[in-house]
């Protein structure tokens, strides 16, 4: 699969993502500067984490109007894969490619730590090979990650099986205590109705190298590449 990692001014997880996709997963990866207008034939566009445009106004709000986003939105509407992590997830919500919004964490703090999550559906490429009972340890690092959508949207997302991941505790229990930021229904990641656009707050690219002592994030990339996980 050919990946394009978009770099906005203020992106800071782009190199981690490129390292994971290219060195760990052995895929072809190109860097896409936000001012470009060509996706270079990429199959999957990745919007990395960071603080695009300094998080001015709202996280992801200004990046959504970067020139490359016109092409990314078109790619998504044509069924191409788009994967946003952290700030990338915020950009996808702001651009309307994913429903809902990401609000300030309910404790008003930037949280940077390992959390636990479980896949909530196997009906997407990103989670297809992940056992829903498998507890994944993946770090989060955000100040605005409280997933919110109005009740009607939330009902629709759940009816249509669009929740990708939920925060849980170490034993896999999905409860209020395991919810780090106050997200509705412990939601850590969602996909769109057509199941080709994925967004999540945790950083799988920070948990995909044995040198980091944590390989749980790699399972997502293996699933994306349709590699059977052991």
């Amino acid at each position: 699969m050919k990946f394009g990692v978009v770099i906005f001014p203020g992106s800071n997880c782009d190199e981690d993502m490129i390292y994971t996709l290219a060195s760990t997963m052995g895929q072809e990866v190109v860097r896409l500067w936000h001012k470009e207008n060509d996706l270079q034939g990429c199959d999957c566009i990745v919007l990395p984490g960071g603080f695009s445009y300094g998080d001015y106004l709202r996280s992801g709000a200004i990046a959504r109007f970067s020139p490359i986003m016109t092409e990314v939105i078109e790619h998504a509407n044509e069924g191409g894969y788009v994967f946003g992590v952290c700030n990338g997830f915020q950009v996808l919500c702001e651009s309307g490619l994913l429903p809902g919004a990401l609000l300030h964490n309910n404790n008003q703090q930037f949280i940077c730590k390992n959390i636990y999550l479980r896949s909530a559906t196997s009906k997407t490429l990103l989670t297809a090979t992940i056992d829903p009972l498998d507890v994944l340890k993946i770090p989060i690092a955000h100040g605005e990650g409280r997933y919110y959508a109005d009740q009607a949207t939330l009902d629709k997302i759940q009816e249509r099986d669009q929740v990708l991941f939920r925060y849980c505790d170490e034993s896999g229990e999905i409860n209020r205590e395991a919810n780090p930021n106050g997200s509705l229904e412990n939601i850590a990641g969602i996909c769109n109705e057509k199941r080709n656009v994925f967004g999540m707050m945790p950083h799988p690219e920070r948990a995909s190298d044995s040198a980091l002592g944590n390989l749980d994030g790699k399972k997502l990339f293996e699933s994306l590449l349709e590699l059977q996980t052991a």
């Binding site: 709000a61 702001e94 964490n105 404790n107 008003q108």
Partner: protein, 85 residues
């Protein structure tokens, strides 16, 4: 004609505003326990050129809908003033 817009963007009342909540609770420490329901939003000012007030309002409204506010989580209120040259 030149106009100045004063825009208030506020978190929707149905949503928890953690900033406002933290400030509300700090009021007790100041000895102002009677202050309640602090909510914190943004105030944006901008200038624009338009044929008349109606057109100016339309343009500012478009700016609010597309970028300045996210209606999933915020509401906005526009006030327009004519600027003398």
């Amino acid at each position: 004609m030149k106009f100045r817009a004063e825009i208030d963007v506020m978190p929707l009342t149905a949503l928890l505003d953690p900033q406002g909540k933290a400030v509300t609770s700090s009021m007790k420490n100041l000895g102002l326990a009677e202050i309640e329901n602090v909510r914190i939003g943004k105030h944006i000012t901008l200038g624009l050129e338009a044929a008349d007030k109606e057109e100016a309002h339309k343009k500012v409204e478009e700016a609010c809908k597309k970028l300045l506010a996210n209606e999933i989580m915020e509401s906005y209120d526009i006030e327009l003033f004519e600027e003398s040259n």
